[in-house]
């Protein structure tokens, strides 16, 4: 059985009018894989990520993570799931402006027991010198590296990244992808990245393309490109 399984997952938002965001969505992700979920904006990829990250519940189907059906979780269990099993990297970094780089990482570390040493993780992302700096004193790329450090430091089962290069220039973006990829392979940490940028997809082990709220195509790269080979 795969590490992550989406089985016929659907999501309907019921407001003034019913909006179907995702329907009949099925795929599998293996442990330690680097997966890209590709799609245009509005395709439903963020909804999929939210459900996988325990921030939202599906209205149909099943989501199995490490043999547990998380679609049956209540709010409390979802919180624990996010706390221990998920690391999240945001498009706009979402660092706490009032905490230094180190403290932002510490904030996440104090949440779980088997977290990594914050300082070591910051060294890992090459920010050891800027530990005492506040987010406003860091460049976008540096901020995103802090955010990645914060997500990794929790030692999560799954690292989820929502357009992590969306707010960065190409060069910096490349470095971020490189960092994520290396981390995935080194720590054997399952990493799911969503993007609308098909170039990034070339470096992934698996690419899941989403269109109109459902899976259009699943492609396995037997020989993914090196980060240095891609450019956008």
């Amino acid at each position: 059985m795969a590490f992550i399984e989406f089985k016929n997952v659907g999501k309907e938002y019921i407001g003034e009018i019913k909006v179907r965001a995702v329907s009949d969505c099925s795929f599998e992700i293996e442990k330690g894989e680097f997966v890209v979920i590709l799609g245009q904006s509005g395709a439903g990829k963020t909804t999929i990520l939210n459900m996988l990250g325990g921030m939202d519940c599906p209205t149909e189907g099943e989501i199995i993570v490490d043999n547990v059906a998380i679609n049956e979780f209540n709010n409390k269990k979802l919180t624990e799931y996010r706390r221990h099993d998920i690391g999240f990297v945001f498009q706009f970094y979402n660092l706490i402006p009032n905490l230094t780089a180190l403290e932002n990482v510490e904030l996440a570390c104090q949440l779980c027991k088997d977290a990594f040493e914050p300082e070591k993780i910051l060294s890992l992302v090459n920010l050891h010198d800027r530990m005492k700096n506040f987010p406003s004193q860091l460049s976008g790329g540096e901020q995103q590296r802090v955010a990645i450090a914060r997500a990794i430091a929790k030692n999560p089962k799954i690292l989820l990244c929502d357009e992590p290069t969306g707010a960065l220039d190409s060069d910096t973006g490349q470095k971020i992808i490189d960092l994520l990829l290396k981390n995935c392979k080194k720590m054997h940490m399952t990493t799911v990245l969503i993007t609308h940028n098909s170039v990034i997809a070339d470096v992934a082990d698996k690419v899941i393309t989403i269109k109109n709220g459902t899976v259009e195509n699943i492609k396995i790269n037997t020989n993914p490109k090196k980060v240095e080979e891609i450019e956008w």
């Binding site: 221990h84 999240f88 945001f90 706009f92 402006p97 905490l99 230094t100 904030l107 779980c112 506040f134």
Partner: protein, 804 residues
């Protein structure tokens, strides 16, 4: 177009609009209501006196008055009307009841129920004690002067003369006037008038208590004094003539007229003046703090709104709208809230608060009527609008000076900074991670933390000053009449005596442990001040005196003794005349002679002012042998019996019981006490609104941060603590500051409230500190619960949105 935009804005941010409106409402409500209270009640009082033609002067003659007297007084300049009338004190079921004659033109009663009497056997009676149909049976010893021995109550009334619970004293029965009735004038069988009531000529500015009124009264009294002797002479002639030589002119050597004003006649007239003063002080002092907090809060709300709306401002500017148009857009939003809030606040405040305050006064006046004062209305509305639009214009223009492009970008989140505490590494490294975050946040949101601190400190102050007022005022009577004065009764004698043996017979079986005192009224004077003082000289300064009068040093509460080398004075004399131990105080006796007294100590005292003097020093100072006119003692039977029996003796003038004095003192402060409760309630309301406002702003500013924490896996209580801990700590510091600043301010407020015959405690009870702190803390906790639910509602998806 802009109007439409304003309306949309209100709809969009209805919560904020409402909170702005509410704060303005509370501010204007409290201010206008409390400021309007005294004028409104005074207005009722003044109208009541006008409607009932309440007397200005009451004349009593030892000989009674005849019609010729009345005619002569009427001719005096300044007199509008004079009415010769009757009154007699009688016993009804052992209660003292004063029987008055119904007059058409003066001291008219206010009919509560029923009708006027048709015949000489019917009466009007005190609505507090009688119902229509009651039969009033006059004790047979007192029926001589009346046509009937029983009167049927056909109407219940309030008399303008009896407006408080305490009707005053009488020289029959137990000495305490219980109630009153009014019978037709013809029903009196007395061949002279027992009293004459005078209305003076006054105009609409001569309101009760005003200087102009008091001056006119004094003036008329002086003029009537002028004709007094000739009237008395004629009256004596008449009496001698009517007695067919049975009495001679010489037996009228002490014939005299006495002048009484509303101060002496109308129960509560003097007390009311003090209470008006006290409420006025509260009305002048407390709203200042109140309004400061309100301005602080509304400014804060406005500032927040304008920062949130800067993108829209940028859009308008780039579309080419003029600054004036854009600003007026926000002005419309603010001014509509201010107008609605202040107008609603004004009307609810001036309609309900005076009514509440009025009900707190222990008085029987007709129901309060609404009194609209245009200038107060304009002050409230115009000032609120000016302040609010000023704030809006300044804040808007500050933003509009920026380039539109800059405005279109969101305001950068506040940058993180190391705080000064971090330079003390040995402290900083010891703090837990969460305390570090809390400290950073407090300093990051300095402005809001300061607002929370000032708001909480201010509200703690308001609540505590409320309780403090109660503490200071409530205990005054109790301490004076149970701790300091420990005798049960004070008996005033008709004639001075030299020794207690002269009285032993009449005290037998009623009172015991009698102590003779000389009590005289003097005035302490210096160049600028004068103060009424009772001078007390005991027959002995031995153990009986020490038992009855606890003389304690006003500073350290050590016991002090009355010695022959100087007098003991009370604190108000010390303050007013700036005399200390060893200095000399000048007093003026009734016959205007001045004496210098050396002060040997200052004794704790709260009600009235006293000078204690030893017998020996009395002799040396006044150069005369002392005689005594007052006895204090312990009761050995019930009060009614003591009073009734003692008053039968011609040597006894009046009997006062400490219990009754205690009650009177309590009544005097009862009104204030309830105003204090009102103050506490409204302050609590304000405190609550302030906290709510600050908490809402805190959450709305940090939605993204909170959503991120949730995604990171913070549990509900953890994110709650992360956000709220700093507020809680600031609130606690604010409460601490409030508790610290209140005592000195309280002491200032109390000295403003003091009147000549009262000294207040300047201390606040521990319990009030506790309540003031706890109440605010509870509000903070309630806010915590509200925060909890607000945080729960924040959607994690917020964290994914772009920064806009």
């Amino acid at each position: 177009m802009l109007l439409k935009n304003s309306l949309k804005k209100i709809k969009k941010s209805f919560g904020r609009y409402l909170s702005l409106l509410t704060i303005i409402f509370i501010g204007v409500f409290f201010y206008s209501g409390i400021v309007e209270s005294v004028p409104n009640i005074k207005n009722v009082q003044s109208n009541y006196y006008d409607d009932t033609n309440l007397m200005d002067i009451k004349l009593i003659s030892t000989l009674g008055f005849n019609d010729a007297d009345i005619d002569s007084i009427l001719k005096v300049d300044g007199v509008l009307n004079v009415v010769g009338s009757y009154s007699k004190d009688v016993l009804v079921n052992n209660d003292v009841v004063r029987v008055h004659a119904i007059e058409e033109n003066i001291n008219k009663s206010y009919l509560i129920d029923g009708r006027m009497p048709d015949n000489n056997y019917e009466c009007l009676a005190d609505a507090d004690f009688y119902d229509i149909g009651d039969i009033i049976e006059i004790d047979s010893r007192y029926t001589d002067n009346f046509e009937s021995s029983s009167y049927k109550v056909v109407g219940t009334i309030y008399s303008p003369i009896y407006t408080s619970d305490d009707y005053g004293s009488s020289d029959i029965g137990n000495g305490k006037l219980h109630s009153y009735i009014y019978i037709p004038k013809d029903s009196f069988k007395i061949d002279y008038y027992t009293e004459a009531f005078v209305n003076i000529k006054k105009d609409s500015d001569d309101l009760p208590y005003s200087d102009s009124y008091n001056k006119k009264v004094d003036n008329v009294i002086d003029k009537i004094e002028g004709i007094k002797q000739s009237c008395l002479d004629e009256r004596i002639m008449e009496i001698v003539h009517n007695s067919y030589g049975m009495v001679s002119k010489e037996s009228f050597s002490e014939a005299d007229w006495f002048f009484l004003t509303r101060d002496d006649v109308v129960s509560s007239y003097a007390i009311l003046e003090d209470q008006y003063g006290q409420v006025t002080v509260i009305a002048n002092v407390i709203p200042i703090f109140f309004i400061l907090i309100v301005i602080l809060m509304t400014t804060n709300t406005m500032a927040r709104m304008i920062i949130e709306e800067r993108g829209e401002m940028g859009t308008f500017i780039s579309l080419g709208y003029s600054k004036f148009k854009i600003v007026s857009n926000y002005l419309m939003y603010v001014l509509s809230a201010t107008l609605i809030g202040s107008i609603l606040g004004f009307f609810t405040g001036t309609i309900f608060l005076p009514r509440l305050v009025y009900n707190c006064f222990p008085i029987n006046f007709p129901p309060i009527t609404y009194n609209f004062r245009m200038h107060l209305f304009l002050i409230c509305v115009v000032v609120s609008c000016l302040v609010m639009s000023g704030v809006t214009i300044v804040l808007c223009l500050k933003e509009l000076q920026q380039k539109p492009a800059y405005l279109l970008r969101p305001v950068a989140p506040k940058k993180g900074k190391t705080i000064f505490l971090e330079s003390f590494n040995f402290i900083w490294k010891r703090l837990s991670f969460s305390s570090k975050i809390t400290f950073r946040n407090i300093f990051r949101y300095k402005q809001r933390a300061l607002m929370t601190l000032v708001g909480t400190a201010g509200c703690t102050f308001l609540i505590m000053i409320g309780f403090g007022l109660r503490d200071s005022i409530n205990t005054v009577g109790t301490v004076q009449y149970s701790e300091l004065f420990r005798y049960d009764n004070l008996i005033v004698l008709n004639n001075n005596v030299k020794s207690i043996t002269d009285l032993k017979d009449c005290f037998d079986g009623l009172v015991t442990d009698e102590l003779l005192l000389n009590q005289s009224s003097v005035k302490a004077v210096d160049d600028d001040n004068s103060l009424d003082v009772y001078m007390l000289t005991p027959e002995t300064t031995g153990s009986l005196f020490k038992d009855y009068f606890q003389l304690r040093d006003s500073d350290n509460l050590n016991e002090i003794s009355l010695m022959d080398d100087g007098v003991i004075i009370t604190p108000k004399l010390q303050e007013r005349f700036n005399v200390n131990v060893g200095d000399y105080l000048t007093v003026e006796s009734l016959d205007k002679k001045k004496y210098k007294l050396k002060v040997s100590a200052v004794a704790e005292n709260y009600v009235s002012n006293y000078i204690y003097m030893s017998k020996d020093l009395y002799g040396r100072t006044f150069g005369e042998d002392i005689s005594y006119n007052v006895v204090v003692s312990k009761n050995i039977t019930n009060k009614d019996k003591i009073a009734t029996e003692l008053l039968k003796d011609s040597q006894i003038l009046t009997v006062n019981f400490s219990d009754d004095l205690l009650e009177t003192a309590d009544n005097m402060v009862k009104g204030l006490n309830e105003i204090v409760i009102l103050l506490v309630i409204i302050s609590s309301l304000l405190s609550f609104t302030v906290l709510y406002n600050l908490t809402s702003i805190n959450i709305s500013e940090r939605t993204r941060e909170i959503a991120t924490l949730k995604v990171l896996g913070f549990r509900e209580l953890e994110s709650n603590a992360y956000i709220y801990r700093e507020t809680l700590i600031t609130v606690i510091i604010g409460i601490g500051v409030g508790l610290l600043i209140t005592p000195p301010l309280h002491s200032v407020v109390m000295s403003l409230l003091e009147v000549d015959v009262m000294t207040f405690f300047k201390k606040i009870n521990l319990q009030s500190y506790f309540l003031g702190g706890i109440l605010n803390f509870v509000f903070a906790l309630i806010m915590q619960v509200i925060t909890f639910f607000k945080l729960k509602k924040i959607n994690m998806i917020e964290s994914l949105k772009s920064v806009e």
